[in-house]
C-alpha cells in the first residue's frame, strides 16, 4: 500500500506538468486560431482555395470552409504538441522514446503533405494543358487523355513512400496500376485511332493538292 502510494506520489509532478502543458497549449492554440482565422478571412482564403485548384478541400472541410479547417488543424496540432511535451515530463523512458520517434516522423508527414499538394497542382495544370491542346487540335477523345489521374496516382504513391506506409505492396500496386493505365491509353490511342489517323492523313493530302490558295477568310 505504501509502495503504491509512493509510486502515485512520484507521478504527481508529471501529472501537474501535463495539465499545465495542456492548459498553456490550449491558450496558445486559441490565440493562434483566432489570429489565423482573422488573417485568412481578410484574404478571402475560402474563395482563393477554389481558384488555386482545390475545390475538393471545401467539400471535406467542416461547414465547407477551408478557413475553419486550417484553424482547427493548427489548434489541434498545438494541443497535440503540448500533450507530447507534457507526456515527456513523466520522464519515463518509453514515453520519451515515443515522443522522439513521433517528432522524427513529423518531417515525413510534412514532406508527404507537400508532395500531395504539389502533385495536385501539377496534375490540374497538366490536365488543363492537355485538354486545351487536344480540343484545339480537334481531337474528339480529348477527355480520355486522363493525365490528371496519372499524376495524382504518382503523387499519392510518393506520399505513401514518404510515410513508409505499405512498403513493397504499395510499390507493386503502383507499378501495376500506373503501368496498366499507360498501357491501356497506348492501346486505345494506337489501335482506336489507326483508321482515324489514316483517314486524316488522306484528307490532308487531298486538301493540300486541291485547295484553292485564295481563301476569303484571313486570321490576321
Amino acid at each position: 500500500m505504501n509502495k503504491m502510494l509512493s509510486e502515485m506520489a512520484s507521478l504527481l509532478p508529471g501529472v501537474v506538468a501535463l495539465v499545465a502543458a495542456l492548459l498553456v497549449s490550449a491558450v496558445v492554440a486559441w490565440l493562434l486560431a483566432a489570429i489565423l482565422r482573422r488573417s485568412l478571412t481578410r484574404v478571402d482564403f475560402d474563395r482563393r482555395v477554389s481558384q488555386w485548384g482545390f475545390p475538393a478541400l471545401a467539400e471535406w472541410s467542416p461547414a465547407k470552409s477551408p478557413t475553419l479547417l486550417a484553424t482547427r488543424t493548427i489548434a489541434w496540432t498545438v494541443m497535440l504538441i503540448g500533450f507530447l511535451i507534457g507526456i515527456s515530463a513523466f520522464d519515463a523512458a518509453l514515453t520519451s522514446q515515443f515522443v522522439i520517434r513521433l517528432f522524427a516522423y513529423l518531417p515525413n508527414v510534412l514532406a508527404a503533405v507537400v508532395v500531395l499538394a504539389a502533385g495536385s497542382i501539377v496534375a490540374r495544370f497538366l490536365a488543363r494543358s492537355v485538354l486545351i491542346g487536344a480540343v484545339n487540335m480537334n481531337l474528339q477523345y480529348a477527355r480520355v487523355l486522363s493525365v490528371k489521374w496519372l499524376v495524382t496516382v504518382l503523387a499519392v504513391a510518393m506520399a505513401l513512400e514518404h510515410l513508409s506506409v505499405g512498403g513493397g505492396i504499395i510499390r507493386l500496386a503502383f507499378g501495376i496500376l500506373f503501368g496498366g493505365i499507360v498501357l491501356a491509353l497506348a492501346l486505345a490511342v494506337g489501335l482506336g485511332s489507326k483508321e482515324l489517323v489514316s483517314r486524316s492523313l488522306d484528307r490532308e493530302a487531298s486538301k493540300t493538292s486541291s485547295q484553292n490558295t485564295q481563301e476569303p477568310v484571313g486570321h490576321m
Binding site: 491542346g133 485547295q211 481563301e215 477568310v217 484571313g218 486570321h219
Partner: protein
C-alpha cells in the same frame, strides 16, 4: 487591323519603346501593339483600301498560338491603358483612302464545318470556359453548339461579352494566362463560322455595315466592362 501598315517615326518609337514595359519572356506580336499605341498617344489614324488580298491557307495547327500572341498584348495593353480607355465615350469615324473592292467570285469557301466542329468540341469540354465565363454565357454557348450549321449564328452581344470576360479573366489571372488565351480558339472559330455563314453572299457595303454593327455592340457592352473592371469582386459571378 491589317498586316500592312505605315507609321511615323514618333509612333514607331512609342509603340516599341512601350514594349520594354512588358514582363520578361512575354511574346508580343508587333502588329498588336501599334493600334493601341497610336490611339492612346493621340496620333492620327486612318485606313487605306489597297485592293483585294490573297490570304494564305489557314494553319489550323498553329491557330491557337497565333491567337495567343495577338490577344495577349491586346489584353496587356488594356490593363496598362485602363485609365485612358475607361474615360472614352462613343467613337469617331476613321478617315479612309481608296475604295473597297468587291471580293472575286472565285474567292473559294471557308471551311465552316471544321470551325463549327471545333466550337462544338470546345462546348462539350467546358471545364476551362467555366472558370472564366458566367453560367448564362455557358448556357448560351451550349445551346448554340446544338444548332444545325444553317442556323448557326452567334449574336454580337454574346461575342462581345465573351471577349470582355476573357479580358477580365486575363487581368484577374483567374487561370494561367497561356491557358486562358489558348482556350479562346474554339470560341473564335465559332464566331468566325457564324460570321462567314452570315456574310457568305454579302457585298462590300453589307460587310462594312456588319462591321459597324459589331463595333456598336462593343460600345454598348463597354459600361458593363468598366464596372466589372473597377469592382471585380462585386460584379463578377
Amino acid at each position: 487591323m491589317g498586316p500592312d501598315f505605315g507609321l511615323s517615326g514618333k509612333l514607331l518609337h512609342r509603340a516599341f519603346g512601350q514594349n520594354l514595359g512588358f514582363p520578361r519572356g512575354t511574346e508580343s506580336h508587333p502588329v498588336a501593339c501599334i493600334a493601341p499605341a497610336a490611339v492612346s498617344g493621340g496620333f492620327r489614324v486612318c485606313e487605306s483600301h489597297l485592293g483585294a488580298r490573297t490570304q494564305p491557307p489557314t494553319d489550323w495547327m498553329n491557330l491557337s498560338s497565333l491567337l495567343a500572341r495577338i490577344l495577349g498584348p491586346v489584353f496587356l495593353e488594356m490593363e496598362r491603358q485602363a485609365a485612358f480607355w475607361q474615360r472614352i465615350r462613343g467613337s469617331n469615324t476613321v478617315p479612309g483612302f481608296g475604295f473597297p473592292e468587291a471580293a472575286s467570285e472565285d474567292g473559294g469557301t471557308a471551311d465552316v464545318h471544321r470551325m463549327i466542329e471545333s466550337f462544338q468540341l470546345g462546348a462539350q469540354n467546358q471545364d476551362v470556359w467555366g472558370l472564366i465565363l458566367p453560367p448564362m454565357t455557358l448556357l448560351e454557348l451550349r445551346t448554340l453548339s446544338r444548332l444545325p450549321p444553317d442556323q448557326f449564328r452567334m449574336p454580337d452581344d454574346l461575342w462581345v461579352r465573351i471577349v470582355y470576360d476573357f479580358a477580365l479573366g486575363h487581368r484577374l489571372r483567374t487561370i494561367s494566362r497561356d491557358h486562358l488565351l489558348r482556350s479562346v480558339t474554339p470560341l473564335y472559330l465559332g464566331w468566325m463560322a457564324s460570321y462567314a455563314l452570315e456574310m457568305e453572299s454579302a457585298g462590300p457595303a453589307d460587310i462594312a455595315a456588319r462591321t459597324e454593327r459589331l463595333a456598336r455592340a462593343y460600345e454598348a457592352g463597354k459600361p458593363d466592362l468598366v464596372s466589372r473592371w473597377r469592382w471585380p469582386d462585386r460584379f463578377n459571378p
